[in-house]
Each structure stands twice: as structure tokens, then as C-alpha cells.
């Protein structure tokens, strides 16, 4: 009987193999340990790749020149070295620029959200001739790159004297033609479609006019959509450097724009007679980058729930 197993032994062995298989690979409806581990390892690896630039930035921003040059110091600086931040603060002129960034970001974002709400409500609740064509045109504006309309708008704003002024951002936002306006109109459209019409009809029977229904019933119910639109609009306006540099010229600046000019400004400020301590290095540049994204990061971590759930709840994926 050497090497051969009785039927009973075979059965037992098979059962054991199946059990461990189930444990490792899982059964229907329940994953095994192996798969689970694999999923976690994959997620953690990808997560690290995502965070790697951030970690790198923060780590380098605290490195002194000696740390930067020393091959022994890899990730953790030998000391907390704040000089980089002091210099970056000077180069970016952090506080005034921060105020300006908020100014040219929050106002257009508010305007864009409000107007997108009104337009989305119009499309969702009323029937009028050409509605479908117009809605298709709304969506079509999303795929028109800003570069095509940029030159005529530039000429147009130039003639009206709106350049170097927040109005160059505000006017398109108020007229529903701001950054990615189509997306916001779509969000509100989907959102208002989901609200049962009977609620508004009840109010209308009680004698409320259209404006009243909109302000007292539709808007309070659309709070999630409003928050999402405002946040996305805020972030997109904040990150927009191309149109900002074109329309604002030297009159207004934002943190990303200052970051773009970082090296030039640094050399102007610290054009030291000696190279070495006063010349620009990775540490200073990374400190500048960290400073310029810090406000957005703070906003994100305070509001990430809305950002992440937003796409879900706003019904952008359609019902």
C-alpha cells in the first residue's frame, strides 16, 4: 500500500485541500485571504505612488544645504530646517498672494455656482422650444478648448478695459461660460430632476410664484449640489494659471502664478554675490511648492467628504 491512499484518505485529503483553497482563494460571495492581501498590497502600493511626490516635497523642503548634498540623508532630514520656508515665504510674498488667490478664486466660483444653479433649474423644470438643442449646446461648450475662444475674448476684454481685473474671470462665470461651466450646469440639472415635482406643485397651489418656489424649495434642497459645485469650481479656478496669466497680466497674482515665476523672483531677491548659501536649491523650491498647495490641501482635508461623495450624490453619472 506504499504510495497509494485508500478511498477514505483520498476523501479526507480532498476536503482539506478544498478548505485551504477556500481560505486562500475564497468562495463565491466571500473573498479568500490571498485575494484580500493582494488587494490591500496593491492599494497600498498605488497609494504610495500617489503620495510619493507629496512626501518627497515635504521631506526636501526641510533639508538644509548640507542635508541635500549629503548622500547619507535620504528621506528624513537631520534637523528641522525652516530657512527654506522663510525664503519661500518671501519669494511668494505668501500672505498677500494668498489673499489675492482667494479673491480671484472664491468670487468667480460663487458666481459660477449660483448661475449654474439657475440655468440647471431652467433646463430641469421648464419646457420650451429648442430646449434639447440648447442643452446639447451647453454640453458642447465643454469640449471647446479655452484656447479657441481665448484670443477673441482677450481682444474683447481688452477693448472693454477688463484686463488685469477680476472681471475677466467674473463676467464669463456670471454668463455661464466659466471654467467647465457645462459640468456644473449638468450637475444642477441632474439634481433638480431628482427632486419630486409634487413638492413644488404643492407650493404653487399655495400661491407661491416661480421665484419663490425656486428660492424657498429648490435651493434649500440642492445644498449638496451647491457645495460640490462650489468646491470644484474653487479648485479649478485656483489651479487655472494659463488664463489667469493671460487675463490678469501683472495686476493680479495667485499662488500658482507666483510658483511659476519662483526661480526668477528668487534670483531677483537673493541675487547673492556668492553662489552657495544664497543660490536656489531643491529645498527652497520644494518649500515654495508646499506653501503654494498648502491652502488647497487644507481645504481638501476639511471638505474631502463632499469632494469624494460629490460625484456620487450629484448624480453626474445619471439615473
Amino acid at each position: 500500500m506504499e504510495g497509494r491512499l485508500s478511498i477514505e484518505q483520498k476523501k479526507k485529503l480532498k476536503a482539506r485541500v478544498n478548505k485551504s483553497k477556500r481560505f486562500l482563494f475564497g468562495m463565491q460571495g466571500k473573498e479568500g485571504v490571498l485575494l484580500k492581501t493582494f488587494v490591500y498590497v496593491l492599494l497600498i502600493c498605488i497609494g504610495f505612488v500617489y503620495l510619493y511626490p507629496l512626501i518627497y516635497m515635504v521631506s526636501f523642503s526641510f533639508k538644509s544645504l548640507e542635508d541635500l548634498l549629503s548622500p547619507l540623508v535620504n528621506w528624513i532630514p537631520s534637523q528641522f530646517y525652516f530657512d527654506n520656508y522663510l525664503r519661500a515665504n518671501n519669494v511668494l510674498s505668501f500672505l498677500p498672494t494668498l489673499m489675492q488667490s482667494f479673491y480671484v478664486t472664491v468670487l468667480p466660483a460663487l458666481a459660477q455656482t449660483a448661475v449654474a444653479g439657475v440655468i440647471g433649474y431652467g433646463f430641469a423644470r421648464f419646457d420650451f422650444p429648442l430646449k434639447r438643442t440648447l442643452f446639447v449646446l451647453v454640453l458642447a461648450t465643454f469640449v471647446v478648448p479655452p484656447q479657441v475662444t481665448m484670443i477673441p475674448r482677450y481682444v474683447f476684454f481688452n477693448e472693454l478695459g477688463l484686463l488685469g481685473n477680476i472681471q475677466a474671470f467674473l463676467i464669463p462665470a456670471v454668463l455661464g461660460q466659466g471654467l467647465n461651466s457645462a459640468i456644473f450646469i449638468l450637475i444642477f440639472y441632474q439634481f433638480f430632476k431628482m427632486i419630486p415635482k409634487s413638492l413644488e406643485e404643492a407650493a404653487q397651489l399655495d400661491g407661491a410664484g416661480v421665484v419663490r418656489v425656486f428660492t424657498t424649495i429648490a435651493i434649500p434642497m440642492a445644498v449638496p449640489a451647491i457645495i460640490i459645485s462650489f468646491l470644484f469650481s474653487f479648485v479649478w479656478y485656483w489651479n487655472e494659471t494659463y488664463l489667469a496669466s493671460l487675463y490678469f497680466g501683472n495686476q493680479l497674482s495667485t499662488l500658482p502664478l507666483e510658483l511659476q515665476r519662483f526661480v526668477a523672483t528668487f534670483n531677483q531677491l537673493y541675487s547673492g554675490n556668492d553662489s552657495g548659501a544664497n543660490s536656489i536649491n531643491e529645498g527652497v523650491r520644494m518649500a515654495g511648492t508646499v506653501l503654494s498647495i498648502l491652502p488647497l490641501l487644507l481645504v481638501y482635508f476639511l471638505t474631502q467628504k463632499w469632494f469624494v461623495e460629490g460625484v456620487d450624490r450629484s448624480g453626474i453619472t445619471g439615473e
Partner: protein, 287 residues
Amino acid sequence: MKLTMKKKNQLIGYAFISPWIIGFVLLTAFPLLYSLFLSFQDVRVTTNGIQTDFVGLNNYEIAFGVDTLFTQYLLTFIQELVLSVPIIIVFSLIIALLLNQQIRFKGFFRTIFFLPVIIASGPVINELMEQGVTSIPSIEQYALFQAIMTSTDSFVNTFLIYLMNNLIVILWFSGVQILIFLAALQKIDKQVYEAAKIDGASNWECFWKVTLPSLFPMVVVNTIYTIVMFSIFALNPVIDHIQSNMFDISTGLGYASALSWIYFLIIALALTVSVGLMTVRGSKKYA
């Protein structure tokens, strides 16, 4: 004059969308036509305003014949678009599938994967690229990578090198797409899976026969979104080139308009080709 209820409602509807209509005519439709008009002109900005001179297709001829930089940028752009968009879509789908499982710290992972959307501004990414943090460090030295490089032909090589050098940027472009896929995944009816399982479908079969078909509309949406975001991103050299020509006295607004129209047409072409292909194939497969 008394309006009927229907007429009244129509007027109110128009009133609600009137800001958009005005804006569309003034700031999108008219500029679009005007820039098309400018692209056939030689434009000089004088103290009396703008003076134009009809030059026919001259600007377009310069763009393709003389301006070697532009054609080169354009070709790189198309190449990158063709490579990146499928990678971004597939990658965001994979992450969405991973996140859709029952795992701990789901919120934490979602927060991380969405982070890049927040800091995706040109200058920030530019700083990171200059520091070389957007590529995987020293991957070229790994034996496995070397082995792949020597054993495959040049096309796969370019693809791999591009992928390795731009991996983080590519990943960083997929935040919104991941969320869109995730939202769609959560809306798939669980009962469909149960029915498929009872019929003896494996997880693999479930993915191809249930998950993918129901995600199909979102694949189209994400493709459009990715192409648009990729093309209007500020780091794009084509866009830079257009702007530098805007303020160049020897070329000017007319030439820049021609460039932007060429660019626009290429993006429109990319959108129609990709969406067209997908819907034709998709409707056959998943109808």
C-alpha cells in the same frame, strides 16, 4: 394681453437660462467664429484697434510647412494622447474595482486617490517634474526592466519608457475618473450578480459579462473627460506655443488663431473617433 399657462412657463424657462444664452452668444459662439475669421487674416494691433488683412490659407500653410516646432508639438501631443487615455481609463477602472470591494479604510484610500485633482496645477506639476519625482526612480536599472527592453521591439519600448517616465502624471490624471467609475459600480444591481452566480458564472465571467457592459456608458463619459482635460492642461506644449505666438509681433493673433483652430479640430477629431469607435463596437457588443 393674457398669456396661456404654457406660454408663460416657456417664457419663465427662457428667463432662467437667459444668462447662459447671452453668455453663449457673446463669449463662446461669437469668439469661435471670430477666431476662425482671424485665422485667415494677418492681424496687427495698432493704436486704432485691430487691423486685419485677408491672407487666405497662409497662416495654415505656415503652421504645417514652416513652423516645425508646432507640427512637432502636435505630433507629440497626439502620441501622448493615444498612449495616455487608454492607460488612464484602464487604470481608473482597476482602482475603482479594487475600491468597490469590501475593504477597510475605503474612505482613506478614496481620499488619497482623489488628492491629485486638488493639486493638479501646471506650475506644481512642473516643479515636481523638474525634480524627477513624477517618474519611478531608477527603474531603468532593474534587471526585469532591462530584460523586457532587450527582448521586445521598438514600439513596445517607446510605450514602456513613456509609461515609466510619466507614470505618476498619468496616475494623477485619473482622480475624477475613478470616482465616476466607483459611483457607477455602486449603482449596479446586486441581483444581476446573484443571478449570474447561480447560472455558474465565475468572477472573471461576471466582470466581462455584467460589470463591463453596465459600466460602458461611463467608459465613454470618462474618455471624453480625459481627452478634454488632457488637452486643456496648462503644461501642454501646444498651448504654450499658441500663447507665445499670440504676443509675437512677427506672427500675431491671426497666426495664433489658426493654431488654436487646428488644435481644436484635432481634439474634436480625437473625440469623434474614440467615441464613435466605442459606440459602434459597444452597441454591437452590449446592445
